[in-house]
């Protein structure tokens, strides 16, 4: 982390960048927030640890409009999003100085809390310099600990890899965290009967409160005006109703980001109701891989997306019924 701060200082002081986009220590040990640092002395609050899960690439949409370059800290998975945003002309590559930061897996405090850890006063074991094997919590109810991996975000268990797809320089080490199959959950659902599938998603989606956190955090959902907020489509809908509306919202959202979603996992990270929203996106990724060839959105900034492309001998929609 110190190396990162030193480099940020250097860049700010040399005037090479006008600001640094990173994370600022929070008021609790586990809630750092995305923040801009414009002065070297502000960097005293800069943190980068296991709790810095936020994908900062979407913030670069706004930062691209500002005067001067922004040094942005991107984790390996964030760089996919950044590439995708370049492709869609939403960020300006020339306005970004990308520091690829190492990643040893990011944490989900809710998971720790689900393990019965509450009243947290401090946490150790989540710094980048740590081995990141065990987390130790000092709580008002005594010292608790858990394995680092047990508190890791779902997305880190199925990590796409720790290589940065785009960067100006890389600072910090990474550690492989993949220990599960990316499509295992999707396959499990695919194997269900229609009634089971329906019940599964009905239960999952009935929790939705339509807060739009998933949409607003999503780097692919970068529309100025979402179709669900727009009067232009007669589709605006604010109410959370447990019948069709939510399916419409989540199905269409998944469809709109199909072929563009990098599977960064932010939607699932931020959902206040813990809905496994990645199940939608990953279904599309799996379908696209199977039907139209392997495709990883954001692996580069040029490749044509699968939904703006076709081949003459693509499968027919009836394949859905045929493959059961």
């Amino acid at each position: 982390m110190q190396e990162l701060i030193n480099r940020a200082k250097e860049l700010l002081e040399s005037g090479e960048v006008a600001r640094v986009l990173g994370w600022k220590a929070g008021d609790l040990p586990y809630n750092p927030e995305p923040a801009y640092f414009e002065k070297a002395e502000d960097l005293k609050d800069f943190v980068y640890n296991g709790f810095c899960g936020a994908n900062l690439s979407k913030y670069m949409i706004e930062a691209s409009k500002l005067e001067g370059k922004t040094m942005v800290c991107l984790k390996p998975c964030d760089t996919y999003s950044f590439n995708q945003l370049i492709k869609e002309h939403r960020v300006d590559r020339d306005k970004a100085y990308i520091v690829g930061v190492g990643c040893k897996g990011k944490l989900d405090i809710e998971k720790a809390k689900k393990l019965g850890i509450k009243g947290i006063e401090s946490v150790s074991g989540a710094e980048m310099s740590d081995a990141c094997d065990t987390l130790t919590f000092q709580t008002i109810y005594g010292e608790k600990s858990c394995a680092y991996a047990d508190a890791m975000l779902e997305r880190c268990h199925v990590c796409k890899g720790k290589d940065h797809m785009i960067y100006d320089e890389i600072i910090g080490e990474s550690r492989d965290t993949k220990d599960a199959e990316r499509f295992a959950e999707v396959e499990m659902i695919e194997a269900m009967s229609p009634a089971e599938k329906f019940a599964f998603f009905q239960e999952e989606l009935s929790k939705c409160i339509r807060c739009n956190a998933c949409r607003n955090v999503c780097p692919a959902c970068s529309c100025r005006k979402c179709v669900f907020d727009s009067t232009k489509f007669d589709s605006a809908q604010k109410a959370n109703v447990d019948s069709f509306e939510e399916k419409m919202f989540h199905v269409i959202r998944a469809f709109h980001v199909a072929g563009r979603c990098t599977d960064c996992g932010e939607c699932s990270r931020v959902c206040p109701q813990g809905i496994r929203l990645h199940l939608f996106n990953r279904k599309y990724i799996k379908d696209i891989n199977e039907l139209y060839g392997e495709f990883q959105a954001g692996a580069d900034a040029e490749a044509r997306g699968p939904l703006t492309n076709f081949t003459f001998d693509d499968c027919e929609p009836s394949i859905v019924a045929e493959r059961g």
Binding site: K65, K87, E88, H89, R90, C221, S222, C223, R224, K225, C226, V227, S230, K232, F233, D234, S235, H256, V257, R304, G305, L307, T308, N309
Partner: protein, 662 residues
């Protein structure tokens, strides 16, 4: 709020017999925005239109719905009627209660209920219609003819004679096409070259016609009145400006083993060649695959012998970009490959030939200098068998399902010519049907039978078996005598099915012109618009549209020319106003829409916007409404719905959906 009038047509009894039209009008009147509803015998009649116009004026209607036949039939009728009454023509919607309702349902109650719903959907849509104004685009006064056969030449001559510039693009080194390969033509038996060559010369000499031979259309963009076409002029390696056409190079060329395309591979030609003596232009090309100089770097004899210094081994392909107002496709045909017809032994015996090969054999400039002889041993044949319908009328997947149309007549011609020139040769024709509709056609066929003693046998040939002695054993059937026939023949001629030039698929794709399952270009209407492609500004000439003989081809070529002239005579065209349009406050500038636009109609601009007080410069999609054809691919790819299609907007379609599902 709109003031909508609903007009329900009886279409005589076509609609009224199954749909309670009064009820439809009555129910329509209850829909939001509807202030007037009436029904009438024939809405499309003068009187019906007058009723619509009167209602528009009296009730100040802002939109109308006509419940009638398909909009493909009378949408334009009702639009112009509305326009004459002062209503924007795009405020008219049609509810199709005939083709989609009265004609397919028997139960009156059911059909009426459906008609009411269809009317309701149209009313819901028209409530959201906005007046649209067609744009204008200028017409480039130049036509492109693709293909330099008789169809292309005739079309070009007719257009040029009307005073417009025409370019002919021909793939091979010379214009002339299939007709130049023919020996004589039916039903008059005049020499093909004698009637074609003057046309070729006329085209070449015409001041309004430019001919690009050995050239291909590479890329087409734009739209009716304003196409932009890239033409690839393949390198000839001979400077056409310098070449005198003396022919010495061809004589001296040491590489003479290439099969002659013009003679259907029956003999050979030199590496530097003109396809035939009367070629236009009379400028040879070098076949790079055969040229020793090209392959090894050594030789260069042609260059040495050319007194004009016209040989240029360094010549490169050139791309020429030209604008056109109209494009005529005249890509012609070829005979099908016979690989699927082993039973006729075409690939086994040199003496089984196609009719087109026979044309070359019979031609004085052909491989046998016009002598009828077996290609295997040069012997004069005594028995000749003609087999009809080889690959035509086949629905088994091996050949073509259609009748190739010309075979009956040319076979009669061949039979007659052979009997005339070589009375010692017996000619037998195995046929399924003899089809001779056409002026003097049946008489021609009867002459072959009656005057020339050609032996016509009703029945097909099952098998041709080459014999060790070089003869061909033909096993056929005489259905009238109910006898199987075994006949020894010296030559067998196959009336091979014709198919559209295989390149036409590529060209059709470039032109966005549709093509049928047999690769024939589709006409806009089988009866009423037979020479126009559904793609505006693209016309069809000759066999690319369907099998034809020469007189028919020439007639269609003229018709296509007239259609093209009609287009070129206009200075401006009205463009379809149902085009895509981006809402600049919602557009993300993400370029996704441009990726799917088949017309390149979407570009991006950095534009200053005022988004509810926020002023900023944004990258925004801009649709060129002259290029946009209104398919709507972009509207679906746009996640925010910033891109919408006028006339078929998101809200309009959703309103229809809602109205139907209500």
């Amino acid at each position: 709020m709109q003031r909508i009038g609903v007009f329900v047509c009886h279409c005589g009894s076509n609609i009224a017999a199954t749909v309670d039209v009064k009820k439809v009008a009555e129910m329509a009147l209850l829909e939001p925005g509807v202030v007037h509803a009436e029904d009438y015998q024939y809405m499309c009649s003068e009187a019906g239109q007058a009723k619509i116009q009167a209602a528009i004026k009296e009730k100040n209607l802002t939109g109308i719905v006509v419940c009638s036949c398909s909009p493909r039939m009378h949408e334009n009728t009702f639009r112009s009627a509305a326009e004459k009454a002062g209503l924007n023509p795009y405020m008219v919607e049609i509810a199709n209660i005939r083709e989609h309702c009265s004609w397919i349902h028997k139960n009156v109650e059911e059909a009426t209920e459906k008609a009411v719903i269809l009317a309701r959907a149209a009313i819901a849509k028209v409530n959201l219609n906005a007046p649209l104004k067609p744009g204008e685009s200028l017409v480039t006064k130049r036509a492109l003819v693709i293909g330099g056969g008789i169809a292309g030449i005739q079309t070009a001559l007719d257009i040029a004679d009307a005073g417009y510039e025409v370019d002919i693009v021909e793939k091979t080194p010379s214009i002339g096409g299939r007709m130049s390969q023919l020996d004589k033509t039916f039903p008059t038996l005049d020499c093909s070259a004698c009637i074609l060559t003057p046309k070729m010369v006329e085209a070449a000499a015409h001041e309004k016609i430019t001919i690009y031979t050995y050239s291909e259309v590479e890329k087409v963009s734009g739209f009716v009145g304003d196409f932009t076409v890239d033409i690839r002029k393949k390198a000839r390696f001979v400077d056409a400006g310098k070449c005198t056409g003396c022919g010495v190079c061809q004589e001296k060329c040491p590489s003479k083993k290439s099969l002659s395309e013009f003679n259907r591979g029956l003999n050979t030609r030199s590496a530097i060649y003109t396809p035939f003596a009367q070629a236009i232009p009379n400028v040879p090309v070098i076949d790079t695959e055969a040229c020793i100089k090209m392959k090894t770097g050594k030789c260069g004899i042609c260059s040495k012998v050319c007194q004009a210094g016209a040989i240029d081994y360094e010549q490169k392909d050139e791309i020429l970009t030209q604008k056109y107002g109209a494009i005529v496709v005249a890509t012609g045909f070829d005979t099908i490959k016979l690989d699927n017809y082993d039973e006729y032994a075409y690939n086994q015996s040199k003496d089984v030939i196609t009719s087109l090969e026979l044309e070359r054999v019979m031609n004085a400039a052909g491989p046998t200098k016009g002598h009828l002889e077996r290609l295997s041993d040069g012997k004069h044949p005594k028995e000749m068998v003609f087999i009809q319908c080889v690959g035509s009328r086949c629905s088994d997947g091996r050949g073509k399902s259609y009748c190739s149309k010309i075979c009956c007549m040319y076979t009669a011609k061949h039979a007659m010519l052979i009997r005339d020139k070589y009375p010692d040769v017996n000619v037998t024709v195995f046929y399924i049907d003899v089809r001779t509709p056409g002026k003097n056609f049946d008489e021609f066929y009867r002459r072959a039978v009656e005057d020339y003693g050609v032996n016509y046998i009703k029945g097909q040939v099952g098998k041709v078996i080459p014999q060790p002695d070089g003869k061909l054993l033909v096993q056929g059937v005489d259905l009238l005598d109910n006898k199987q026939i075994l006949k020894e023949a010296d030559m067998v001629v196959l009336a091979t099915a014709i198919e559209p030039n295989p390149d036409v698929r590529k060209i059709a794709t470039m032109l966005t012109a549709s093509i049928d399952t047999n690769n024939f270009l589709t006409e806009s209407h089988a009866k009423l618009r037979p020479v126009e492609s559904p793609t505006a500004g693209v016309f069809l000439s000759g066999v690319c549209q369907g099998p034809k003989d020469i007189p028919e081809t020439v007639a269609q070529a003229g018709a296509a020319a007239v259609k093209a002239i009609g287009l070129l005579a206009k200075d401006k065209l009205m463009t379809n106003p149902c085009t895509a349009k981006a809402d600049e406050l919602m557009c993300n500038g993400c370029s996704t829409c441009a990726n799917v636009c088949p017309y390149g109609a979407i570009t991006y601009e950095e534009k200053e916007v005022n988004d509810h007080g926020i002023r900023e410069t944004r990258r925004i999609a801009v649709v060129n409404s002259a290029l946009c054809q209104g398919c709507g691919a972009c509207t679906v790819t746009c996640p925010s719905g910033a891109m919408d299609l006028q006339g078929f907007s998101n809200r309009q379609i959703i309103a229809e959906v809602d109205a139907i599902c209500r």
